[in-house]
């Protein structure tokens, strides 16, 4: 029987976070599923699917809490349905960059959502320097209402935000 949890860990970046966390899980008999581990603004962030065969949330908490404490990480556990082997394939990629300003992600993603974009992955970064920051975002998703609808939507966004650089690129997956 599988008992999947989404484990979230956040804290100041340091060497050894991943190895110490995953070693504790391995020694506790857990299995790992899909995960995203990333340094964001000096913090190290982990979102990871963990399957603990026996003991449930208490047992998982018991395994992770000492390591999280040692590494000064915030730990959060959510019971989830662990849906492995059901990847969705993106068919469109949208890249956006421009001078950083309030509301940019909200505006772009609202326009895209209204035109039927289901976001599968979004990665964004702030570059430049403190005086002239720029914002950069890569989105992969499924155009549920077609790619034309997204193109139309971005065109109207452009009319009001001419300094944004937005590219939309269909992703063709060749399966062989």
């Amino acid at each position: 029987m599988h008992h999947w949890f989404m484990v979230t860990l956040v804290g100041q970046d340091q060497i050894g976070i991943v190895s110490k966390i995953t070693t504790a899980l391995y020694q506790g008999g857990c299995n790992l599923g899909e995960a995203s581990m990333l340094r964001l603004g000096g913090n190290f962030t982990i979102m990871m699917m963990v399957d603990i065969p026996t003991g449930g949330k208490d047992a998982l908490n018991h395994l992770l809490q000492p390591v999280a404490k040692e590494l000064q990480l915030h730990l959060h556990l959510d019971a989830i349905e662990g849906l492995l082997h059901h990847h969705q394939v993106p068919n469109v990629r949208v890249s956006v960059h421009g001078a950083d300003r309030a509301g940019m992600v909200a505006q772009v993603t609202s326009v895209l959502a209204n035109a039927g974009l289901n976001i599968l992955a979004l990665e964004s970064d702030v570059g430049g320097n403190a005086n002239h920051p720029f914002y950069l975002m890569h989105i992969e998703g499924i155009a549920t209402a077609g790619i034309l609808a997204l193109e139309e939507a971005l065109r109207s966004l452009f009319a009001s935000q001419p300094d944004l650089k937005v590219t939309l690129e269909p992703i063709e997956t060749v399966v062989m």
């Binding site: 065109r155 452009f158 690129e169 269909p170 992703i171 060749v174 062989m176």
Partner: protein
Amino acid sequence: MLNILTYPDPRLKNVSVSVTEFDEKLQAFLMDLEETMRAGPGGVGIAAPQVGRLERIAIVDVSSKPKISHHGRLVMINPEITDWDGFEMGREGCMSVPDYTGNVIRATKIRLVAQDKQGVSHEYSMEGYEARAVQHEIDHLDGLLFIDRLVSRRHDLFQRKVYESKKGT
């Protein structure tokens, strides 16, 4: 219908040997291989090691895809890429790697020498979708899968065919 080996089957990591006999057994195998390819989820390419036959044989047929240049059904025996030009990122999947797709950089244009099912050598120039399929299949003959060549989304500098919204339109 032949059985498709799936990763992590170690046979997918072998380097296949050249074909020397263009006999009836080969013709029968080619028919089975094509049938297996057409039954697959993508159906545009297959290589012999994917069905456990470690010989340098592959078939590609991208003719179902509209508006691209192609060579129809291409049976490639002992294929070799002799020239590469340009590179672009594209997303690939593989019958031998179920439930996973990923971004891979391939040459945009290639020149290819391969024997046909009778053993006659031909030279082909190809690009885009077909060239990608051929490079993917030849990798199988060298024991390589597309997951050996993945590039991260995060470092996607190689955009192709960009549909850019024009200012003010």
